[in-house]
């Protein structure tokens, strides 16, 4: 694979370009891991159902030259409710402050380039938490992101700030000239008694292939409240591995919703480390797949301390020749007594070319726990379909109606109304066009 040599050159160039900082050291660690493990293949248990190594036959490039993205390009992709939001823009994996709009005041919200934060007053914080996710994600693709940490984002919601303006992150990949590899990296702190609403979306410009390999690390402190939404509705030429690692180090509440509509090969890693007694976490996911889309959701809830509660519900629909994968893992460590952990994965399969692979796992090392998981694979209810058709609703419309209702369970978990309505429209459109 010529890509490996390319990565090596690029890595050396990057390391030579700047001073030996803590981040540069982290990059070296990352690159060593990448060299050792290479890209994950289906032989790795965690990658059994998703093959990304073949994607790299396409020879992606980093887009190093200054990207030709205008504010008007961004207008086209703004999310509903953006008028009140802090909008952060990543282009080809790099945080571009010039294109971003920050509406909260500096005392409410701290936004810095990651390299800058690593130097100034947040040095210790960055040192302590950047790269924590590699304890859980040990594969080469995660290490590849770490090898190229550059122009990352540092975001901090200070103590007691109940941020009313949500944070929207737009990831833009410019694939108009070439196949583009983007590797955004972010580190987010939500301090004591603070509140953050965070949404990410992804857009690929042009018709060449784009690959986004993202790592987002979130640290949540005592009494903080975090809502995290990820909306994937990009072109079929857009593939991605998105790793979100949320570390709840104080007793806090986290609520996540991941919606995957269009895309090429998508892999979402969502890790929740419940590292304080009494943490509460809700994870929701929806994948509505058509064409040849391949969406793989891996969740991990690691209960390290007692009295934690977690609930997961992932629902999927696989049509055409698409593939839906769910792998949920709940670990209850020996100290995590009185854990309540629930997990449910439901799937509808609409075509004989479609595939659903699901693997809900429980690993329990403590006895005083209540854990359950369930998963189903099935079809639309024939009787419900008949009921609608008997009332003169055409078959296609009836199906859309039922699928919408099926998706609604997850949709209602998107709490901000403008965003919810926006996603509802996307879903309706997505389901109606066959």
């Amino acid at each position: 694979m010529t890509n490996v040599n390319y990565f090596k050159d690029q890595f050396e160039q990057l390391q030579d370009s700047g001073p030996a900082t803590a981040i540069a050291e982290l990059r070296t660690d990352g690159f060593n891991t990448f060299n050792k493990s290479g890209l994950p293949t289906y032989k790795l248990e965690e990658w059994k159902y998703t093959n990304i190594s073949s994607l790299f036959d396409k020879e992606y490039q980093f887009a190093n030259t200054a990207p030709a993205i205008q504010l008007s390009d961004i207008d086209a992709i703004r999310l509903a409710g953006h008028e009140q939001a802090n909008e952060l823009v990543f282009v080809n994996g790099r945080f571009i402050p010039a294109l971003s709009t920050i509406r909260s005041t500096a005392s409410q919200l701290v936004i810095l380039a990651l390299e800058e934060a690593a130097k100034g007053k947040y040095e210790q914080l960055v040192k302590a938490h950047l790269g924590q996710s590699s304890e859980y994600l040990k594969d080469g693709i995660h290490a590849l992101n770490t090898s190229f940490i550059q122009d990352g984002l540092f975001l901090l919601v200070p103590k007691g700030q109940q941020l009313t303006e949500p944070v929207y992150i737009y990831h833009i990949s410019d694939a108009r000239q070439q196949n583009t590899l983007s590797q955004p990296r972010s580190l987010i702190f939500v301090e004591e008694n603070a509140k953050l609403q965070l949404t990410e979306t992804y857009t690929t410009l042009g018709t060449s292939e784009s690959f986004t390999n993202e790592v987002l690390e979130v640290v949540v402190k005592e009494n903080a409240f975090v809502e995290y939404y990820k909306i994937q509705h990009d072109g079929l030429n857009a593939s991605q591995v998105g790793s979100t690692h949320i570390h709840q180090i104080g007793r806090s509440h986290v609520h996540t919703v991941v919606v995957s509509l269009n895309g090429g090969v998508i892999r979402n890693n969502l890790n929740l480390v419940l590292d304080a007694a009494g943490n509460e976490t809700h994870l929701y996911g929806l994948y509505l797949l058509k064409g040849k889309s391949h969406v793989d959701n891996h969740t991990l809830v690691d209960n390290k301390q007692p009295n934690c509660f977690s609930n997961q519900l992932y629902k999927g629909i696989a049509g055409d020749a698409s593939t839906g994968v769910f792998s949920g893992r709940i670990i209850v460590q020996p100290d995590a007594q009185k854990t309540n952990a629930y997990q449910s994965n439901k799937n509808i399969i609409l075509s004989d070319q479609a595939t659903i692979n699901t693997k809900p796992q429980l690993e329990i090392f403590a006895d005083d726990v209540k854990c359950s998981h369930g998963c189903t694979v099935g079809q639309l209810d024939e009787e419900a379909l008949f009921y609608l058709r008997a009332r003169g609703i055409p078959k296609e419309a009836a199906e859309v109606l039922l699928l919408e209702a099926y998706a609604a369970d997850i949709l209602v978990q998107i709490k901000p109304e403008p965003l919810r309505n926006h996603v509802a429209e996307l879903i309706y459109e997505h389901l109606s066009i066959s």
Binding site: T355, A366, C371, C375, T376
Partner: protein, 481 residues
Amino acid sequence: MNEDLNMLEQTALNEYKYGFVTDIDTDIIPKGLNEDVVTLISKKKNEPEWMLNWRLKAYAHWLKLEEPKWPNVKYPPINYQDIIYYAAPKKKEQLNSLDEVDPELLRTFEKLGISLNEQKRLTGVAVDVVMDSVSIATSFKEQLSEIGVIFCSISEAIQKHPDLVKKHLGSVVPMTDNYFAALNSAVFTDGSFCYIPKGVRCPMELSTYFRINAENSGQFERTLIIAEEESYVSYLEGCTAPMRDENQLHAAVVELVAMKKAEIKYSTVQNWYPGDKDGNGGIYNFVTKRGMCQGEHSKISWTQVETGSAITWKYPSVILKGDYSIGEFYSVAFTNHHQQADTGTKMIHLGKNTRSRIVSKGISAGQSQNSYRGLVRAAKGATNARNYSQCDSLLLGDKCGAHTFPYIEVKNKTAIVEHEATTSKIGEDQLFYCRQRGIDAETAVALIVNGFAKEVMNQLPMEFAIEAQKLLAISMEGSVG
């Protein structure tokens, strides 16, 4: 809670009751494995040329394989050159009645509570005793042969029914299937062979009691059951083993073939030496069991009660090839002390309108680790495939683990697959309810555990259900919190 902990400790001290070594001269070949040993085994069994070639081919393939590392169990590396691959009790002549069996051997079975005489007289069960790899006695053979049922040791079958063996051996579990299946194919010394002809409903439960005897001898059993069209057979397998310190490897292969409208019911009670309370010794039970629903409307049902072995690692599977075929798997796995179990099933739906059902109950106590690992696959052609899986775990201590790894792969839009799993400990309120009614804690726990396992126990044939309940009770005796 303190009381419960005390009881747990008592359980931990509860020693293996069936640990004794029977003193019979055994005819063994030296430790180690190479082509000569494979050839020697084949010669000792007086096997035809094709069988030897088959073994050698398997051995050659085994050399190319690496021992799998993926299961959720830990054990020191096995030295395959340190195992005796053949040990047979000295008596060689075929026996016609139990009177001819070595009295020492009979006493062993009496100690186990499995008196052949008793069984023969009272229960009408035909018993094919496997004592260290060679069948000693087969009872009720005449009665069975009248209706055309062949029930004998696999060695005898190779001599007397080579066509049947040649046709089916390795058809469900190919010699290249996995590491331990390849090893077994090369060195298997004995096992059972059943053939149920077309339209025959086997009038009695067929049963083999396994028994490991000579020190350091691994057991490599090979069982082959063939049910022809519209036949029925229920097969029981149970085992106990003497106490010893060195770990013993047991890598058996069981193959079931069910033709059109045939039904095979395979039940196992496994109580091999699990090691002492510190985790020393015990049997490694690495078994490949697989059934093939070859014909339409065929049915294969696995029921297992696993209480023994230091490590249990097996996945009795069903390949649902025939349309309308049915696969079932019922399992109770109890682990205590340092025992480890990684067990479950595979249901591979290939034919149309195939159905499968999985009920797995795991109970962990002490420092044991108990995993369920299962695969349900509905292939493209498996129209209307239906599966329901349920796996529940009960934790009886704060140092044990219960894990669930289900894999579900669906490639068909008419398939319906459901899986649910729960993990919990015995509810305080359940215990309280029982104790309030004057039931002591120990009985209450036994009652609750029994209820927990009932769905599986009910699947066992009557003769076995009693033994299984006894076993579960012994495993939990003086127990549990």
